[in-house]
Symmetry: C2
Subunit: 273 residues, 2 copies
């Protein structure tokens, strides 16, 4: 397995950064995560848009042009010989002499196995818990997951699959996933603000046929009374949610809307460009 | 110059971590910063208390006992041959196979030059700016300084020395320093909550002779009407503040209280144990 660091492909196990990197010293950096499907990367331009946008906001110049970066990503997938894989691009604050000022960023690209939701999970749905929190820069794909990582223990203790952030009852997102709710009128709604703009979220928002998907405000109360609730992400596509804390959602089983959306997402991923 | 990584002293320039470390992947880790003064480390037990407390809260076991860690820190100072220096201990989330779950932490100890405030700064005082923000886990010395690092550009553009966080007008702390205000009644007050419990802050709170220092609530309005304002940290001790955004503080010059406190801090650092 190979990784890529700044200018060169390296054996993954030999890809190191110096401890003066601002990611190690101050948790400062951004990233994005792409998915190779049959050797192609669907929606790669959307991921690149977000990656360069996050980098610019965080004052981190990217040493490669979009064309160069695309070439590197595809060469990495080819070298590693896995047609289906996750690709993580991390851009750190670089080797900072004083451990605080932004320096020349380090670009780290690594390849990962893609853990998809199991068939059982899609058939039965999952339980989630909630936590009062809002990320400090939700629009930026920063590497700061302090609270999300820290909450993993609580998620496990509750036998839950993930944790949903809310502030004063207004829900936003999961640490790594977006939220969708099917309201009683059949409309599919996802929080409009204080969320990372997921690419899967964007694709679902683009659906038109036989379905109404909109951005809006969602409260915990809306969730408790929804007919369906589900989360979305690049790696997971969709995962139906049938329990939120101690509250059963809808019939307690995944509904027809989440299944329809899953089919649409698979179709979009495999659509010829 | 040497650093220390987990079990061994290494040349500082050869101290690397693998990119799978949770600090690089998710900005997850804690740290502390000590100061060697004439080869001794004043208040080392206070720093160690906080380091082990942060580590425990963040679910990061420290591989060394306090006695072992103390030995390593003193050996590092001795090897590097600088009697006055900063020592940074970072404990990361470790090499995480899935890039999200906490693994076996990496302990990184590095030595740094100590940039003390200049004589001019102490004589004339500095300007600071304000920013609406509160850290997500203020009591923990987490490595997450996303907002603090990001704000450096604004600090420079404003020709300021640092940036003070407030939320709805209630002030808390600087990214790396605590705040003190001398009220019109002569009482010295520092924010009681939503702050990192600095060791210098603790030492100032312990002062008794001829001075009243308390924890309390401080608003931006309190700051504008204070007779003196100053910030504190391990490396800086105290820095007088004479301007907050566009508002002149007190007479516009450092006052007698900050000078008295500086003298006390120097005395405490050099006190035999």
């Amino acid at each position: 397995m190979y990784s890529f660091l700044n200018t060169e492909f390296l054996p993954a196990e030999k890809t190191f950064v110096h401890v003066s990197d601002l990611a190690v010293q101050r948790g400062y950096g951004i990233f994005d995560f792409l998915k190779a499907v049959n050797g192609k990367i669907p929606f790669i331009d959307d991921y690149f848009d977000r990656f360069y946008r996050s980098a610019e906001f965080m004052q981190l110049p990217v040493s490669l042009t979009r064309a160069q970066l695309k070439e590197v990503v595809y060469e990495l997938v080819q070298r590693n010989g896995e047609a289906n894989a996750g690709i993580k691009m991390v851009l750190t604050g670089g080797y900072s002499p004083d451990g605080y000022e932004i320096a020349t960023p380090n670009l780290i690209i690594t390849q990962h196995a893609l853990p998809m939701p199991s068939a059982k999970m899609l058939e039965q749905g999952v339980k989630i818990i909630t936590h009062e929190f809002r990320r400090e820069m939700p629009l930026v794909k920063s590497i700061n997951y302090t609270t999300g990582v820290w909450l993993q223990r609580k998620v496990k203790e509750a036998n839950a699959y993930d944790v949903l952030y809310h502030l004063h009852g207004e829900v936003s997102e999961f640490p790594r996933c977006n939220l969708f709710v099917v309201k009683e009128n059949g409309h599919v709604v996802t929080p409009a603000v204080h969320v990372l703009e997921g690419i899967t979220r964007k694709n679902i928002l683009s659906l038109r046929e036989g379905i109404t998907v909109v951005e809006g405000k969602i409260t915990l109360d809306d969730i408790w009374h929804a007919s369906e609730v589900f989360l979305t992400s690049t790696t997971k596509r969709v995962v139906p949610i049938v329990q939120v804390d101690d509250v059963r959602i809808g019939t307690g089983k995944p509904g027809p809307v989440v299944q329809k959306i899953l089919n649409e997402l698979i179709r979009m991923e495999n659509r010829p460009e």
